[in-house]
């Protein structure tokens, strides 16, 4: 499903929100929620390294001679994400999620005296993320049917190089928030249908990273959710 398709679904569902309940919607305790949608991750660097030769200079620590410099970046990418939650209380949901995307790792070459600076096309990764977290619904509303929440969690990242030739694994942690909008239900015993938008700051540790540093990047997701 593309991002455009998902937005259309959200618009269609929004337009059918005719059944307005008098009681403001909220999560219901001990109910499960299933969400599916699209997610977008921002780009982040994965390391800059110089190709170094030993310079021919007298001394125990000769200065390095740079053949070229390579700065690699994982490009921003849209993907698919699904989440399953369980409302422990009316305000607290614990949930697990999974996401898939195919970002590219591009590399910018510079400082090569024989070649102009350039950005290489890069390789395509297959990226899987699995996480567990909690969503805390805040005690106020936006309008009649939207309620904000904050969320946080962590999980496992699996990145496969092009051609599935090599697997790199890491951890992800996130914190953020969003808004739930009930199109239908959300009160009484009726099943609920709605849309949800999340914005998160994501920290990635390990996985593909040539400097072995923790990276931070934004993640934005849009879901359709069903509460049973």
């Amino acid at each position: 499903m593309t991002l455009r398709t998902a937005c259309l679904i959200v618009l269609v569902l929004s337009s059918t929100a005719s059944a307005q309940s008098a009681e403001p919607p909220t999560l219901r305790a001990h109910r499960a929620t299933v969400s599916g949608g699209v997610t977008w991750s921002g780009s982040y660097p994965v390391g800059t390294r110089n190709a170094i030769l030993r310079s021919s200079v007298v001394g125990a620590s000769p200065p390095p001679f740079t053949l070229f410099s390579a700065a690699s970046t994982v490009a921003s990418i849209a993907g698919l994400e699904g989440r399953v939650g369980f409302a422990v209380t009316r305000n607290l949901v614990v949930e697990i999620g999974g996401a898939f995307a195919k970002p590219r790792v591009s590399t910018a070459i510079s400082a090569d005296p024989e070649v102009a600076a350039q950005v290489l096309e890069g390789e395509e990764l297959q990226q899987y993320a699995f996480d567990a977290g909690a969503v805390w619904q805040l005690p106020f509303r936006f309008g009649r049917r939207a309620r904000p929440f904050v969320s946080g969690g962590g999980g496992y990242l699996r990145q496969l190089h092009e051609g599935r030739t090599l697997v790199e694994t890491g951890q992800i942690y996130y914190a953020g928030g969003g808004v739930r909008y009930w199109i239908r239900g959300g009160s009484g015993t009726r099943r609920s249908l709605g849309v949800r938008a999340d914005a998160r700051a994501t920290w990635k540790k390990d996985g593909i990273d040539f400097d072995n540093r923790t990276r931070t990047f934004p993640t934005v997701s849009a879901f359709v959710f069903f509460e049973f």
């Binding site: 190709a51 170094i52 021919s56 090569d112 290489l120 390789e123 030739t165």
Partner: protein, 328 residues
């Protein structure tokens, strides 16, 4: 058993014809080129002749340190065995491997050189002799001495040849006022031109050297725990012979080089740490060609990077990548 004196491989102070990548020495046997290597351990003598600025004892010390450096490569299995001092000078086909100082005024640019006796039925090295030219002033100072050639660095290089490694082209040179070439920087102990007299950096092996020796004498499990990269260099749709391909690991910073070695432009690198690599293809300098390719090679192309990283998978080899180079 047929035996034949094999190529002389030298390290030089400055040159008009340097360079080749991490390559193994080979012998043509039954229509195929096979690696030249020892059936270990390498048993050797050291000549008792003193050199200029260094005694025979100094040489034995330098050889002891350099053999320890090669033996310490964890991904390779290399074993040396010192048999004692000898009054015999290196160079004769006497069945004994001998290293020592030798006065070679006719080779006034050559610091040291290695020659071999090869069993041409199987590529086994039967004997190898190494000389270090007394025309140069040597140093064994731990910190190095300006104006003197570091003996341990040159011993380490020649022992690489003795083990079966060729020269590496991983380095940058510039022309000197006398028409020769001077090394600016190198990425391998096996680079054919020595560093400035007094430099001691080449007492330590580099990734290119380690990949080469690990290919020749792989330690147990090396084949399974390392990876390879294969590909083709083409120009105008045709394979290109003699292109220098450099693989760069952006995680470790390791540089390993090799050449496209046939008319299809195919190249292969093995014993690489698994992971993604950037590939840079460059032509040999005009001055380097004759020493390493007996046939004509194409140097009329621009330095080019592969459009994407190539992954050396653990225990296997990458799918072949084509790198198209444009003419100059």
């Amino acid at each position: 058993m047929k035996r034949v004196w094999f190529a002389i491989v030298a390290i030089i102070l400055s040159s008009q014809s340097p360079a080749q990548a991490y390559l193994k020495l080979g012998a043509a046997i039954g229509g195929q080129v096979i690696d030249v290597s020892w059936r270990q351990p390498v048993r050797y003598f050291v000549s008792d002749r003193d050199g200029t600025g260094a005694t025979a004892a100094d040489l034995r010390g330098a050889i002891s340190r350099a053999t320890a450096t090669w033996q310490a490569v964890p991904s390779a299995t290399v074993r040396f065995e010192f048999l004692g001092a000898t009054s015999v000078a290196p160079g004769g086909a006497d069945g004994r491997t001998t290293l020592g100082f030798l006065d070679r005024p006719d080779l006034d640019r050559v610091l040291g050189s290695t020659s071999f006796l090869i069993d041409t039925t199987n590529g086994a090295i039967v004997e190898a002799d190494v000389f270090f030219n007394t025309r140069f002033t040597w140093s064994v100072s731990p910190q190095g001495e300006a104006g003197r050639v570091d003996l341990e660095s040159v011993v380490l290089h020649e022992l690489g040849h003795l083990l079966g490694l060729g020269h590496s082209a991983l380095g940058e040179t510039e022309r000197t006022g006398t028409g020769g070439r001077r090394v600016l920087a190198s990425g391998a102990v096996m680079f054919p031109i020595a560093m400035t007299a007094g430099a001691i950096a080449d007492r330590v092996l580099q990734p290119d050297d380690i990949a080469g020796i690990s290919d020749l004498y792989p330690a147990a499990g090396q084949v399974e725990s390392t990876g390879g990269i294969t590909g083709r260099v083409t120009k105008n749709g045709q394979g290109l012979l003699g292109a220098h391909v450099v693989a760069f690991n952006p995680e470790s910073g390791a540089l390993v080089g090799n050449f496209s070695l046939n008319m299809s432009g195919e190249f292969a690198m093995v014993r690489l740490a698994p992971g993604p690599y950037l590939l840079r293809v460059e032509p040999l300098d005009d001055a380097e060609i004759d020493s390493f390719f007996s046939t004509a090679i194409d140097t009329d192309f621009r330095v080019t990077y592969a459009s994407r990283m190539v992954v050396a998978p653990k225990g296997g080899s990458s799918a072949s990548i084509e790198i198209k180079v444009p003419p100059k």
